[in-house]
């Protein structure tokens, strides 16, 4: 890749999804010339939108924010692949040198019932927010910052928690899953918080509440295809799903045998 000529440009055929909320939507075809290979995929979309505006037509709506691969806002299913053809990369960090001159590129929104299309390529990912609201937090004393070394965390545990915390909540796992399942996302959050000492008070409650919120948001069930891991821009592994299953069963068993019949609640 490094040997590529920076001033090389591409002529592309783009099939881009156009949809208004409440209407069915369809692909629109556009040609775009002089796309630098150094442009990111979002910059290419910016070029397309500028061309549309110059023609007096409506630009395509798409989500984006940091454009440095950490915010989780950019989405887009590119040629059937969430975040495009390069594993471990978000759409904003995908560069046009990965496409051929004259190539037809199909761009569509995340496809899942739990992610309804708001407009064009923008989907409503508030199902994820509801999962986070249900259990994606820890109870802490607010005010002055606590002394960092008061709570020792083993290196291996902090590494594993950090690997899971890499999840940026973009939704590519749902979009790539043939069942529209959010287990990789929920697994990453449960793993991140449940293995750290700071996450222990809510541990059982979190696993139960997040799975409940996930089911209520209309996500599908995991059947262990492994597509989510293969498409995750942060390469989160199926380990977090195995851990979520384990945490859920553990919480259910503890709840079943608890004297009050209720899971331990954080802060109680």
């Amino acid at each position: 890749m490094a040997a590529d000529t920076p001033d090389r440009t591409l002529r592309l055929k783009l099939r881009v999804w156009r949809q208004r909320a409440g209407s069915p939507g369809a692909f629109e075809e556009h040609e775009l010339a002089a796309v630098p290979v150094t442009a990111s995929f979002l910059e290419m979309m910016d070029m397309l939108n500028e061309q549309l505006v110059r023609q007096g037509r409506e630009a395509f709506a798409f989500d984006h924010d940091c454009r440095e691969g950490i915010c989780g806002m950019c989405s887009m299913t590119i040629n059937g692949m969430p975040h495009g053809p390069i594993p471990g990369v978000t759409t904003c960090q995908l560069h046009m040198r990965n496409f051929r001159d004259g190539e037809t590129i199909t761009v569509e929104p995340w496809r899942a019932r739990a992610f309804p299309v708001l407009k064009d390529l923008v989907v409503d990912r508030s199902g994820f927010d509801r999962v986070i609201q249900a259990g994606g937090f820890i109870t802490v004393r607010t005010g002055s910052a606590p002394e960092a070394n008061n709570t020792p965390v083993p290196k291996t545990v902090s590494d594993e928690a950090m690997d899971a915390a890499e999840c940026i909540g973009c939704g590519a796992c749902v979009a790539s899953c043939k069942n529209g399942s959010a287990m990789l996302f929920v697994g990453a959050k449960v793993t991140h918080l449940s293995i750290l000492p700071q996450g222990q008070p809510e541990r059982e409650r979190r696993a139960l509440a997040m799975v409940k919120a996930m089911d209520e948001a209309g996500f599908g069930n995991c059947t262990n295809y492994g597509e989510c891991q293969a498409h995750c821009p942060k390469s989160i592994t199926l380990d977090v799903i195995a851990r979520l299953n384990r945490e859920y069963v553990r919480a259910r068993v503890k709840e079943f045998f608890s004297t009050t019949g209720k899971p331990r609640k954080g802060g109680d």
Partner: protein, 221 residues
């Protein structure tokens, strides 16, 4: 989780998956045992008939197994159908271009192989357990004679062989998958369990297939 009364009537996604995994483990264990018993066919009529007589002489063992298997199969089918329908709805059609990276043929065909196996089980029970189908109305006291007669029909044997190859595909995904669902898998063990799963599936399938093939080839007669 205040509505704990409804946990049974509306189980969670993970709950249904656990039902799938545990019943799958029971059924996977059963097919290995069943296949091992069947191989006594190669030791001759006396061996397999004695094995059958021993099973029937232990009604407690026989009926406990039958009830556990029946309940497992029913729960497995119920969970499978429910999960599949929910997953179809949740997927909402999917992207217009298919770009599958990792999902195996076995994993993608689980509902179909499962339904064929359900039909196979019904036929198999009518065929050999109740001796009510495809045996020309005959009733056998000798298991050996019943099996040889049954598999002498080429269409019946082909159906058995095809069904067992589909069982291989089903087990190849299911056996490793059940460890993942029960939370007993990680990246290090995933490859090992996938290979173990594949080996398990082939051993079971080839063991079963060997009998109709041996009958048709004239090795068992």
């Amino acid at each position: 989780m205040s509505d704990s009364s409804c946990q049974v009537c509306r189980p969670s996604s993970v709950g249904k998956k656990v039902v799938m995994a545990i019943t799958g483990l029971v059924l996977a264990g059963f097919v290995l045992g069943h296949m091992s018993g069947n191989l006594l066919m190669f030791k001759g009529p006396a061996a397999i008939d004695a094995y059958a007589a021993w099973l029937h002489a232990n009604p407690l063992l026989l009926w406990t197994s039958r009830i556990v298997l029946l309940l497992s199969a029913a729960a497995h089918v119920w969970a499978g159908v429910t999960l599949t329908l929910e997953n179809r709805a949740a997927r909402d059609g999917g992207p217009s271009v298919d770009a599958t990276r990792r999902a195996t043929l076995g994993s993608r065909t689980m509902p179909y192989t499962g339904l064929v196996l359900l039909a196979f089980i019904v036929f198999h029970l009518l065929h050999y357990t109740f001796q009510a189908a495809a045996l020309g109305g005959q009733k056998f006291d000798s298991v050996y004679r019943m099996v040889v007669t049954g598999f002498s029909s080429a269409p019946v044997s082909v159906f058995y062989v095809v069904s067992m190859l589909l069982l291989c595909l089903h087990l190849g995904h299911g056996f490793s998958s059940l460890f993942q669902t029960l939370g007993l898998r990680n990246e290090r063990w995933r490859g090992r369990l996938d290979r173990l799963s594949l080996a398990y599936a082939w051993i079971v399938a080839l063991g079963f297939v060997s009998i109709p093939v041996a009958v048709l080839a004239g090795i068992l007669k």
